[in-house]
């Protein structure tokens, strides 16, 4: 870690290079690089400028509305919020254990979300960088570029995502923002015709997922740059089953340090705030979670696909487990710390989720009709899932009128906050120190951030809201240079 890069001794004497927003990442992000008079990077910060208002949005609402309401937070991972909120409100109605059908339907829904999200990430966000290299011309580094160069690969990416969305549609009634999870269970049965339709496609989906894993592995292992890019030791946290197997829907919390030693294990996730705490820093809305036993300085950690493959003992499906073993072997059997290994890990998880879907569709319980349970009423509930990008907590307190009086959400982007800053610092120190700011150099920073696939605010996507702005600000705060890239791809000086 490089703490000197976060807090320079005399920030007023530094020049600032501002990159806003980070391209191909949702929402508004801004990277500030503080340079000294010699042009060396002395401070690097990732600002996430609109990441606020979630809790306020939820407070005052009846708890039974919350699982549906929270889908409005994010257009990319609404199902993850739907499920995490659902688990929290299960506690409120005393549903300690769901019916087998309800739990399996939720797991199926979650697996569909993993497939569609990971497919999008790899084929849209990650593969362009990995296929074409970080310094390739900008126009080739997006899905359109991938399609042009690898039409069959891109077509499968589109169809993998489509399949995941069809799973979601069959269970929730809509491709996006449907309704399925209710307090204590699910709101409707899965029809046999829907199950059969999903069954017909799953073999091909597993096959394509295997191909994708092979591509991800080849790209990672064949690139010296991948194995050396933003590599740094860190702690990792994720949800596992009590037997140590990976479990993306339910289980206990486990954290390991950089050497693979257990920091905590078998932690009841409803007691997460005894093990995790959030630090506030004056320059950003984003909080910085840390592991209490390690303290603020040393306790930051990573979540998401890389973390999950580092903390779990095994994956519960054969094809994905074989790939996990290869993944760990590539790190000498120890912990994998390469930031770009997130992409490879993500594809292994996509295969794992596809295998899970096949298994769930073959389970007779999936067509059951016993969907809802309840028990003793409670006034506090905590839900957690391993969302595609990492661990997602929803924590609510309600009053006697069933209204939410307190809400706390910890999303994966928040967990990874310090790690993303560390990645930016790592890349900036290596590639930007003393060099002129160019699109190629900026892309190195963006590649590091995209590995985490952060959701930078679940912001709006209105036309005209997504310019890329690059500003150079001198020590006195004056903008001495500006570059604006519009949504039509044109680059101007921003003056009209």
């Amino acid at each position: 870690m490089s703490p000197f890069l976060e807090t320079a001794a005399n920030p007023r004497s530094l020049r600032r290079v501002v990159i806003e927003p980070v391209t191909r990442v949702e929402g508004h992000g801004k990277v500030t690089l503080l340079l000294d008079d010699e042009g060396r990077v002395r401070q690097a910060r990732l600002h996430i400028v609109e990441f606020r208002g979630f809790e306020k949005f939820i407070q005052g609402r009846p708890y039974w509305e919350v699982p549906v309401l929270v889908q409005r937070l994010c257009g990319i991972c609404p199902v993850s919020h739907h499920l995490a909120a659902g688990k929290a409100v299960d506690m409120l109605v005393g549903a300690r254990r769901l019916t087998p059908t309800a739990e399996k339907l939720r797991r199926l829904l979650h697996a569909g979300q993993i497939v569609q999200s990971h497919a999008l990430h790899f084929f849209h966000l990650a593969s362009p960088d990995l296929l074409f290299g970080f310094d390739s011309e900008r126009d080739r580094r997006n899905i359109v570029g991938v399609i042009g160069a690898e039409p069959e690969l891109a077509r499968k990416g589109v169809l993998l995502r489509k399949y995941g969305q069809e799973v979601i549609r069959h269970i929730t009634g809509k491709r996006v923002h449907g309704k399925a999870v209710v307090p204590g269970g699910m709101n409707k049965e899965l029809t046999q015709s829907a199950r059969d339709e999903m069954r017909r496609g799953i073999g091909e989906i597993i096959g394509w997922s295997r191909e994708a894993v092979a591509i991800g592995r080849r790209l990672f292992e064949s690139s010296e740059q991948s194995a050396q890019f933003a590599v740094f030791p860190s702690n990792y946290m994720g949800l596992v089953a009590p037997n140590g197997e990976s479990d993306l829907y339910d289980g206990v919390l486990r954290a390991k340090d950089a050497a693979g030693k257990i920091i905590f294990d078998q932690v009841d996730y409803t007691k997460y705030n005894r093990f995790l705490r959030e630090e506030v820093k004056p320059w950003t809305y984003m909080k910085f979670p840390f592991i209490v036993s390690l303290g603020e300085e040393e306790g930051w950690y990573r979540v998401g696909p890389l973390a999950r493959l580092n903390v779990a003992d095994r994956l519960g499906t054969p094809l994905a487990e074989a790939e996990r073993q290869a993944f760990r072997a590539a790190a000498g059997g120890g912990m994998q710390h390469a930031t770009l290994a997130y992409h490879w890990a993500r594809l292994i998880e996509m295969l794992h989720a596809a295998e899970r879907i096949e298994r769930l569709l073959d389970d007779p319980d999936i067509l059951g009709a016993d969907l809802v349970t309840s028990g003793e009423r409670a006034f506090e509930g905590v839900g957690v899932v391993e969302a595609p990008r990492g661990t997602l907590f929803h924590h609510y307190k309600v009053d006697e009128n069933d209204l939410v009086v307190r809400a706390n959400l910890i999303v994966s982007t928040t967990h990874n906050n310090q790690a993303m800053n560390e990645s930016v610092r790592s890349v900036a120190a290596r590639y930007l120190d003393g060099k002129e700011l160019t699109e190629g150099l900026l892309n190195h920073i963006e590649v590091a951030i995209r590995a985490y696939d952060p959701c930078l605010s679940c912001a709006t996507h209105a036309l005209g809201r997504m310019p890329l702005q690059v500003e150079l600000v001198d020590a006195g705060g004056s903008v001495i240079s500006r570059m604006v890239k519009g949504s039509d791809g044109r680059v101007t000086d921003g003056e009209g």
Partner: protein, 173 residues
């Protein structure tokens, strides 16, 4: 046979004026009952994505409706063509990029397409549609309804009024 249409309504209904796209799509869905002879596919989502290329299949006309933070009020209608490699940011694709994905993934020419950008200014989470945008919505709906009542590429092109258009109206295919 009447042209088959797909209308995309983009935006987050819980983020103030970002709801414009989905609200206008709701109008279309209700209006369809008046014209059962028309085949209008309605697609609502927070943002455009690669899979939306598949929603263009078997359509003769495509209309993308979204809030626009920079267009001249109340709205701007423009023609859009497949655009390669210019979607620079976010998980969201531009309408032109979606058309390009369709062309490349299917090998077919996408249907002629238009973007109706409706001016929006307030986008905070939890905020309702602003009063100003509510007025723009009504103006935009009149435009959309007129377009749907005459589903014809030439007729839609005729509605590209230079006086209301601040962006490039026609891009090279």
């Amino acid at each position: 046979m009447l042209p088959r249409i797909v209308v995309f309504g983009c935006g987050n209904p819980s983020r103030g004026d970002d709801a414009l796209g989905s609200l206008l799509l709701e109008r279309v869905e209700a209006w369809r009952a008046e014209r059962p002879d028309l085949d209008v596919r309605c697609v609502a989502d927070f943002q455009l994505q690669i899979e939306h290329a598949l929603d263009l299949s078997d359509r003769d006309l495509a209309l993308f409706v979204d809030a626009d933070a920079s267009c001249a009020p109340p709205f701007v209608l423009r023609r859009v063509a497949p655009v390669a490699g210019t979607s620079h940011s976010t998980h969201a694709l531009s309408p032109g990029a979606v058309l390009h994905v369709y062309r490349t993934a299917t090998g077919e020419t996408p249907p002629p397409a238009w973007v109706l950008g409706v001016r929006g200014d307030e986008f905070e989470l939890g905020d309702p549609l602003s009063p100003t945008a509510a007025g723009y919505l009504e103006a935009a709906w009149l435009e959309m309804r007129a377009m749907l009542q005459r589903p014809d590429a030439e007729a839609w092109d005729a509605r590209l009024h230079a006086a209301r258009t601040t962006k490039v109206a026609l891009q090279a295919p």
